[in-house]
Symmetry: D4
Subunit: 146 residues, 8 copies
């Protein structure tokens, strides 16, 4: 069986690449999906539809265009990895985790131990908490093994 893993959350570090390279090195039959991770492109995803003076509606319009992609890819994934870094609010990552929880979609979190407490509700329904990308790779090596 081929596995599909959706990588949600932080877009300013190379954690996605680390996981993808580790999985590739291990020769696992796993493919990865994610939101569009180019920050400016993502913010502008709906701008071509119409201009908005109001920042709320501009964000609204772009978020919904992004949702066409993310909703579909999350629902098709076999596993979701949700990454929380040390910057920004990252409410979209927590939102994705809640979305997975309600669907019964397995997800694991990836964050360091300084933010255990604020993430306790998110971790409560995760199937694993990893602190490094290589731990996520180790999880995949284990669960994907034939």
């Amino acid at each position: 069986m081929s596995w599909t893993v959706y990588l949600s959350g932080e877009i300013h570090t190379d954690w996605r690449e680390q996981i993808e390279q580790g999985v590739k090195a291990a020769g696992l039959d796993v493919s990865f999906t994610s939101a569009v991770t180019h920050h400016d492109a993502s913010d502008a995803a709906g701008d071509h539809l119409r201009d908005n003076d109001n920042s709320f509606w501009r964000d609204h319009q772009s978020s919904k265009v992004n949702l066409i992609r993310t909703k579909t890819l999350i629902e098709k994934a076999d596993l979701v990895v949700v990454r929380f870094g040390d910057k920004y609010k990252q409410w979209n990552a927590a939102f994705d985790a809640g979305y997975c929880a309600a669907l019964g979609k397995p997800y694991v979190t990836l964050h360091d131990d300084s933010i255990i407490h604020p993430l306790k509700e998110v971790d409560a329904q995760a199937l694993a908490w990893a602190q490094t990308p290589s731990q996520v790779v180790d999880i995949l090596k284990y669960v994907v093994a034939a």
Copy 2:
């Protein structure tokens, strides 16, 4: 019809009371539910089960006990109001919103305009964005009207 509204998020200001009083003043047939909002009690919700040296497992244990309550009450609610304040990470609030989105459960957000951008994915699936508790009361007056 009697409506049940779950109030999720920030526990350090009196927004819940403001909404409840506004609704009471308006004489609406609405009842409110929420997580246990006493911070220390919530953190200690599972402590009576067994002691844990490790903060991750202590939090894990308590979060799951809280989940017995919150999962049930959210699923029984007709509407969820998700409040984001200006402090703390509040990932649990975003998580609840994602949970509602996946269930198709109507939710509205309550936050000021300084955090529009980081909440754009959460607002994208909300049925309204309110900036003040009295706006939430106004929404309820409208939607609950016989």
Copy 3:
């Protein structure tokens, strides 16, 4: 058993009142729900949240506030009656019918025979087509009978 019937569609004639009076006269245990049927109030449902220069976003904001009410009431109804009159586009009525069809929620249509052809897809999944409010009352007398 008490039945709940949601009345969807046309708001410019008294078809709702005719059905409600017929049911009341028959002494049936049926209660009725519907969207807010005051046209101006409905269009302005979200105006108290924030002003919008743009008519698309004004409509969007109000429609979502209305959705809090209509989505909940449709999902709680035992039967939906969808009325198409001879004026306006009435896409919201067809939308409600499609929503019911996907949920497996029983609905009946109420329209005259001049619009059979354009409503054929809507009628295809309806459990009855009535031409007059009194026919809807007759259906209710029959199906609700102890």
Copy 4:
């Protein structure tokens, strides 16, 4: 991932072809489905089963045969585009949109700004409103990108 997009609504202009050509030109991995778009064939879809004097039952019979196709294709689509033109009642298009909304199936609308107001309930649950086929192509370019 290969995407499947169902094109619902207006059958008297070439909007489907414009989108298909734009997507082909962009080299996207997208396939398209739709109802049978030949008007007379669609109206006659059930005629071979038995003759009907009554226009209601003739339409009923054909609509259900069409439903075998459309229900299946909509449920298998990753995205539905719902087109409203400037003629006819087009209740079937609004019906499809409501069907998608209840399924949680992403859909976008395609219509010009003269009909914003009557489509407000349909647009309220759409993930985007496009005014031209090329805007739909732009959305697909963005969401389908690897």
Copy 5:
């Protein structure tokens, strides 16, 4: 807890009355629902909507009106009893059983041992096969006991 039991199938013997009297005599908190069991009224359920020359459409119209009632009542029932007698085709009873099976709705069958073989697929998903109404009453006494 109060139990609701839907009684499906044969309408030409008094098996419903026997079960209802047995349950009443036992003082159980059970209420009963069923289709309209007056044969002629049931066949004519849609006649007030419009006349049909064609017997197929007349039956179709009435069956759908009956469905408003039966679909709702079956879905609300805690248990369905499906009775097969020794006359008629009784495909509607088998249809109801299949409907229950797909919903995961518990049902029991009531028939004598002369029709075990043709009912084997229906009995395969039933939670009990009773041969007499008093056996159904015994089942209810057991399962409903506080």
Copy 6:
């Protein structure tokens, strides 16, 4: 798209072969599935598990083994054709139709006009009633067309 059609019901005439040949002649991308249609093999499907003196349990055991196959194939089908002939009780066919109805799985019936009345509840939720295998082929030609 490739379509899968499950053929349910009568096993004593060659209606399955007629449909399959018609579809093959038309070059449609349709594959067919069905229960095991060899009568004696089907009745004996569970006999290798253990002997049963009692005919009820022998039938029960075999029916459940058959269910492993039929339940899976029906749920994977895009369309189900349910055939009623002029012999036997055929409750399994009506059961399959009810199963499809509850799942929202499209099905069509195939029977002659002498049994319209006893099949009215089964036909009420079918998307078509065909009287001959060639009419089923015609339906498939229409709905499967690219």
Copy 7:
């Protein structure tokens, strides 16, 4: 809100009574349900339907009659407590836990620490592990609090 708690598992000690008394003493708005806990009555639940020489079919028949009750009560419960004692196989308790897990129904386990390891898969999806009935009462005091 009134809570309903289903008590699953061991029937040879008084853990149910301990929980019920603790809850009563605390004045909580909780009602309890469970399988029929009289061992002999449960084993004989289907005996009145027909005699069986074969122990497999006797057990089968009775288990299904019990299922009418247990399936319904578990699905209606807000919380399930699953008790594992130190005797017997207790596969039915683990089965109930798996049933809850698939439904997304919250459950907690009640067992001592000598059987942590064999219950690890059951505990993995539980929202709490209690070692004594009074700990279950404490959980209820917390989660049910207004």
Copy 8:
């Protein structure tokens, strides 16, 4: 059609190999999945994430990592075979069976006749009870046949 069969339960005998060889010898289009069946590896599945002094949390952590694999594979299987041997508690096997029952996923049990009574609830919802691996192979030969 290719079938996928998940093999759940006992890991200390070669029943999986017997089934796989029998199926291979018969040339059936069936593929098999299962949990990681190496006992020590399974117990240590989460150890690389962090060390735990406490055996409960060590087991909890590993069980959840295993769940990423087992939950996904069970949900993708067409049939689950649940094996109970004569040693150990095997609550995970009963848990998997309950999980399947709630999903409506077909499963068969494989156990000898000495444990009929304690497995009666598990067998009640199974589609077959086999006593030997070769009987499971026979079931597959029958249900998978083209």
